[in-house]
């Protein structure tokens, strides 16, 4: 165990030159993201103070929730050195299956059966993906690229060219109004974030995932099972995708086969912008969560900025610019850190 311990997240145990504990706490990428989030909020808030209303931020958090939930899983997949770009299509398939089971116009099955079945199916497909990657030794980018198309195709077949409407009243009410005033997706996201955090920091399994990602060779020599760890990471992602589907999709007016399109890109963007090394072994949950908030708040921020009709056409370009800014601010920070380090050494 001590062997894998040395390979863990704590790459930053060397003395940090920032004097405040605050900056010791949030490291490079996180600081950049936090700066971007606050700057954007302040600029937009000065332009239009309505941006700071409770309603707006409550809604932004609701929109963050599904991305944050799934990013917790995909982050662990990336930490093991793999990637999953099929979560958007998986969400569509699970929404179609859930919709056909629960809708009053379809099979009208009880939620108490339909929801566990959806969670089970998501986990099962995740484990299947993981088995192709770990036992079949197919690169995960190819497996999940294939699934991205295959699962979307299956969704179209499942839906049979129709949209699914009329989910049970209880489910849509809970998704829209929440439980005791707190939207259910925020509660679910909080739970998943807590669970993932405990997993990473307090359970050997979490450390083993990082160990596998930083050096598969050493991990194997330390007696870790690559297959089991990867099955877990992909299965967990599948489970979380199902959870995100259950809490988020009932908010939408109908279930159509286009649900979750480009969701996989958003999740992977958040994971990478959040500072998780694509080569595996490194990355912190807090960075990923900050990236989720940043990526989600850009759309409403642009609406409140009155960028006008011509500006709206630039939405995607501006979103891309924010991704670049987040990454550039990171290297600026590390430059400063190196620079001030030299001063101290001299």
């Amino acid at each position: 165990m001590s062997n894998s311990q040395t390979l863990t997240v704590d790459h930053d145990s060397r003395p940090v030159c920032f004097s405040t504990r605050f900056f010791r706490l949030i490291r490079q990428r996180e600081a950049g993201l936090l700066l971007l989030i606050s700057l954007t909020s302040v600029v937009v808030g000065i332009h239009d103070v309505r941006f700071f209303s409770v309603d707006v931020w409550r809604d932004i958090l609701v929109r963050c929730a599904p991305t944050a939930i799934v990013a917790c899983g995909v982050m662990l997949v990336v930490v093991t050195g793999e990637i999953d770009i099929s979560v958007g299509s998986l969400m569509a398939l699970l929404a179609a299956v859930m919709g056909r089971m629960l809708s009053e116009q379809e099979f009208d099955i009880s939620c108490w059966i339909g929801i566990p079945v959806t969670l089970g199916l998501g986990t099962l497909i995740g484990v299947f993906t993981g088995s192709l990657v770990s036992m079949g030794r197919v690169p995960s980018i190819i497996v999940t690229l294939g699934l991205l198309t295959a699962l979307r195709g299956l969704t179209t077949l499942m839906m049979g060219g129709k949209n699914i409407d009329r989910l049970p009243e209880g489910l849509t009410q809970v998704a829209k109004q929440g439980f005791l005033g707190v939207p259910i997706s925020i509660l679910a996201a909080a739970g998943v974030i807590g669970l993932t955090s405990v997993l990473i920091h307090h359970i050997p399994l979490g450390r083993r995932l990082y160990a596998l990602g930083s050096s598969a060779e050493s991990a194997r020599m330390a007696g870790l099972s690559e297959v089991r760890l990867k099955l877990f990471a992909f299965g967990y992602t599948g489970f979380l995708t199902a959870l995100a589907t259950i809490v988020d999709v009932p908010r939408l007016p109908k279930i159509e086969s286009g649900i979750g399109s480009e969701f996989e890109l958003l999740v992977v963007t958040c994971v990478v912008v959040g500072g998780v090394a694509i080569s595996g072994g490194q990355g912190r949950l807090i960075g990923v969560l900050l990236a989720v908030v940043l990526m989600t708040m850009i759309r409403p921020a642009l609406t409140f900025m009155d960028i006008g009709e011509a500006g709206e056409k630039w939405t995607r370009a501006i979103q891309g610019m924010f991704i670049l800014l987040a990454v550039v601010s990171d290297s600026l920070f590390s430059w400063r850190q190196r620079h001030s380090g030299k001063v101290h050494a001299a």
Binding site: R50, V138, L157, G160
Partner: protein
């Protein structure tokens, strides 16, 4: 390990192929109307093949209803068939098959104009008249396009519906939630909506582009409601953004204060019409679209219309104009609380 990969890929391939096969077989048994399919050559009926984008969805089923009506009226043998999954390659196969069978007219609603263009050109080379309906194909692949509604009538129809619902003297902001910034249809409608809005007392505050993404459409709806306190109405001009905007209004508790109108099928919007969030749903009459298509097919087969013809007599629809090579169905149709339940598509 390699064998394991092969096994997994093979099982996945089978899993994907099996539903494809089972779906294919019923679509092969074409629905025909009219009894004498093997009539002697002299008194032979005109045979028209009608190809929808997707067979089995309510939108095209309602078009088929009108087509059947026209076929019975004109004594035409109508073949209605299409892919159940909207695969344009299957559309091309069907066109090839009909070319071999030697039907008189093929009416195509192309899913991907380029994919079916080859088969359509071959059919024309074999002496079969080919037209498009519902969606246009490439220019050389067809003689006429049965156009359901002009951009002008849709754009102005949307604004008029909003003005009627709000009351013509209402002042305040309106927002358009479109599809993508590159969506050609939506952009054409927006261009005709702008001058119509300029003549009214409503001010176009902004245009949002959520793409074909339901979450984004809902989010944009919520944002513009918080952003513009004087918001009176939202136009949702795609089948994704219209229900998304209506849902946003309901979730913000603004039902009845912010009116939503737009373009979608009645089934998607019924619940919002009944809650009062939406008062008008704009679309064209799909039954009439099928009806007109068969009349155009008949006129082509009997050479009543050719290049340069400017009008066509279309049964109960009366005289319809032909602009260039577009046969215009004409006006849009507005679904309201009073009539929406009569439509099922």
């Amino acid at each position: 390990m390699n064998r394991f990969v092969c096994f997994c890929l093979a099982s996945l391939a089978i899993a994907l192929a099996v539903p494809g096969c089972t779906n294919n077989s019923p679509s092969r048994t074409a629905e025909t109307s009219g009894e004498n399919s093997k009539a002697p050559a002299g008194s032979r009926k005109i045979r028209v093949a009608l190809l929808p984008k997707i067979k089995g969805i309510s939108y095209f089923s309602s078009c088929y209803k009108g087509a059947e009506e026209a076929a019975n009226e004109l004594g035409i043998e109508l073949i209605y068939d299409g892919p159940t999954d909207g695969d344009p390659r299957k559309q091309a196969e069907m066109i090839e098959q009909w070319t071999i069978d030697g039907v008189d007219v093929i009416c195509v609603a192309p899913n991907a104009p380029d994919v079916v263009a080859g088969a359509m050109k071959e059919a024309r080379a074999a002496g079969i008249a080919v037209i498009t309906w519902d969606a246009d194909g490439t220019n050389e692949s067809r003689s006429f396009f049965v156009n359901q509604a002009s951009a002008q009538s849709i754009g102005e129809g949307l604004v008029n519906a909003m003005l009627k619902d709000l009351g013509p003297a209402t002042e305040g902001d309106v927002v358009i939630i479109s599809a993508d910034a590159t969506s050609a249809n939506q952009n054409a409608w927006i261009e005709t909506m702008k001058p119509a809005l300029a003549r009214s007392k409503l001010k176009l505050a902004t245009i949002k582009y959520p793409g074909e993404n339901a979450s984004n459409a809902l989010a944009d709806g919520r944002d513009v409601i918080s952003k513009y306190p004087d918001l009176k109405g939202i136009f949702g001009i795609s089948t994704v953004s219209f229900p998304g905007a209506a849902e946003a209004v309901e979730q913000s508790g603004k039902s009845g204060q912010v009116l939503v109108t737009g373009l979608s099928t009645p089934n998607d919007m019924k619940k919002f019409v009944h809650t009062g969030t939406v008062r008008s749903v704009v679309l064209w009459n799909t039954v009439d679209l099928g009806y007109l298509t068969i009349h155009v097919a008949k006129a082509l087969a009997t050479r009543e219309i050719k290049d340069g013809t400017t009008t066509i007599k279309a049964g109960r629809l009366g005289e319809k104009s032909i602009v260039g090579d577009n046969v215009m169905l004409g006006d849009i149709m507005v679904f309201t609380k009073d009539n929406i339940d009569q439509f099922d598509f």
